[in-house]
Symmetry: C2
Subunit: 354 residues, 2 copies
């Protein structure tokens, strides 16, 4: 599998707990269902082709003007649309597999950046590649997950500024995929920074999918300068956000209590998983700040573990399809306390039986 | 405006009756809302990346195997994805403006085909252009609306066979955009024909949007051979149909009573509009078999009429943005009997006052 969450392909006689899919375990905000039902008859009309109310709602949430915001059918549609503007895409790995797939679909040449030994971004290699790319007339972009998937690493604001300066100097556009940004309890706001730079050579992409517990709804958005907004307006299909996603987007970003509770819950459970898995002495754990965690098995490959967990009703994400990773890596989501405890119990059973 | 239904751009103090948007006036099928609510919590998971149940539902409706079916975020996503396979697109006009826009976005060269004087497809020009296009190694496609927008013309099965044969001989792929096909009460089924030809050089695109009264839901699908299905699987963004659209797609196609009633209602109202507008002696009427109707004003341009109707709470579609048409053309939708009667009343007022 190249994506998590393909739970139907692993259908067994049990209900599976899906640790392969990184979704807010608190579920969607209370009140959302009632709101969407109250707005149901919007389905009788085309969505506003300019998504004015949705963009206003995002504008208040992001504290940037609506003219910089483009909604899309999931963050993927925005990333795909943005990539269609470029001839070359610089991709540090390991990272979300779709960067590479969408870049290829958009006929971008790809320059990969190998990571540091701890899988963090190698800024020296990045620097040399950016400088090498700048002279041949190609339109270049650099795409980085912040937090990165599958490592869960977050860039510091200083790192972003350094990389962004390098991009400006070399006429590269920095695309920050922040689909999981809200989970990180960050001490900076990338949108605030990018706004202060007038979105020069920087595009931020976010999703409602993951943080708001709504993977089925397909709502993402990009934040970028007006030139790029106009480019996307032409390259995206019209009405790509349906009326239900549009309604959701006018509701969820107002729910401050849900947002605060989710961040705190995830942080606590991430720490719980980290401590418990450390105690197993079976994995190297990559210190994530997102709602998932990359683990490297110290001994063997993880196929046997995968099968054992599947038999016990747990689906995890094997990571050998991520560039640079092999069959000793798995990724697990941070889920509800009960689910996390059950996973720990089963991991203990597996490793104690060894 | 390049599209109908942009009602927000014409917001007045009145509620507008939107004759610019071609949607089933009976509204969506009874029971759909309850079904979608009962399936609401699907939003907590990613949609099945392979859309197995949805494709099975479509397979039963279309009487063709699920392996030939690709669902998309509206028919537009399918058309856009299909066009990305080709270097050249042959487009008879007047036709839906997005054919040209999406072809350009996909870097297709475009060959336009001028219509007969009655705006029907000029098969002689089509033949010569197809034969001219076949020798330069380009991948060629031909896209035709069936029924065509804005004329409402439907091809006969014999015409389809002729055009399709020509396409096969010259290695052109025929794309039939049948977004409005269900409205036509056709005496043939294009899918049955294409299926009998193993979908060789033919792709059919349909929508749930219009016929099922669900423009807000964004659900379309393509029917094509497995090579093309595999091409689209890679070129489309993953999970592009959201969980609400997916649920709708598992419901609406089963509602045979709604389908039958809608076809009969539209036919009756289309005839009512035709007769009433004929009596005005102010328009040439293009004999549509769809749920909209193209009119050419016999005297002046139609801007004054547009403004008069807008003041009376009616939005119609000016057609000068359609290639080949000018500011003497309008398109009106077939709506509910009350709405249609109100339109006729206002048209009478306008033309009697002249």
């Amino acid at each position: 599998m190249i994506h998590g969450a393909d739970i139907l392909s692993y259908k067994t006689d049990k209900d599976l707990i899906d640790f392969s899919s990184n979704i807010n375990p608190l579920g969607y905000p209370t009140g959302l269902m009632d709101f969407i039902i109250s707005e149901f008859d919007n389905v009788k009309s085309y969505p506003d082709i300019q998504y004015r109310e949705l963009r206003d709602s995002l504008s208040r949430y992001l504290k940037t003007e609506a003219k910089y915001i483009v909604p899309g059918n999931g963050a993927m549609e925005i990333i795909d649309g943005v990539l269609s503007k470029f001839n070359r895409c610089i991709i540090p790995y390991p990272s979300f597999i779709e960067y590479e797939l969408r870049a290829k679909e958009n006929n971008c040449e790809i320059e990969f950046i190998a990571p540091n030994p701890d899988l963090s971004l190698n800024v020296d290699i990045l620097k040399s590649i950016i400088e090498n790319c700048s002279d041949d007339g190609f339109k270049n972009c650099l795409i980085i997950g912040n937090p990165n998937n599958p490592t869960g690493y977050v860039l510091s604001l200083e790192e972003i500024k350094t990389i962004h300066s390098l991009c400006i100097e070399n006429e590269v556009t920095l695309i920050l995929d922040e689909a999981f940004f809200e989970f990180t309890d960050s001490n900076y706001d990338t949108v605030e920074y990018a706004n202060s730079m007038n979105y020069k050579n920087i595009i931020i992409v976010r999703a409602a999918t993951k943080f708001f517990g709504l993977p089925g709804i397909r709502l993402g958005y990009g934040i970028m300068n007006e030139d790029n907004v106009n480019f996307l307006k032409h390259s995206l299909n019209p009405w790509s956000v349906n009326s239900f996603a549009e309604s959701a987007g006018r509701y969820i970003f107002n729910d401050r209590v849900y947002i605060k509770e989710s961040v705190e819950y995830i942080k606590k459970e991430r720490e719980f998983l980290y401590d418990q898995i450390s105690n197993l002495n079976s994995f190297k754990i990559f210190k994530s700040r997102s709602n998932y965690m990359l683990l490297k098995a110290m001994k063997n490959d993880v196929n046997e573990l995968f099968d054992f967990l599947l038999q016990n009703g747990i689906l995890i994400r094997l990571c050998s399809t991520f560039r640079g990773l092999d069959n000793t890596y798995i990724r697990i989501a941070v889920k509800s306390h009960d689910d996390n405890s059950y996973l720990i119990k089963k991991l203990k059973e597996f490793y104690n039986a060894k």
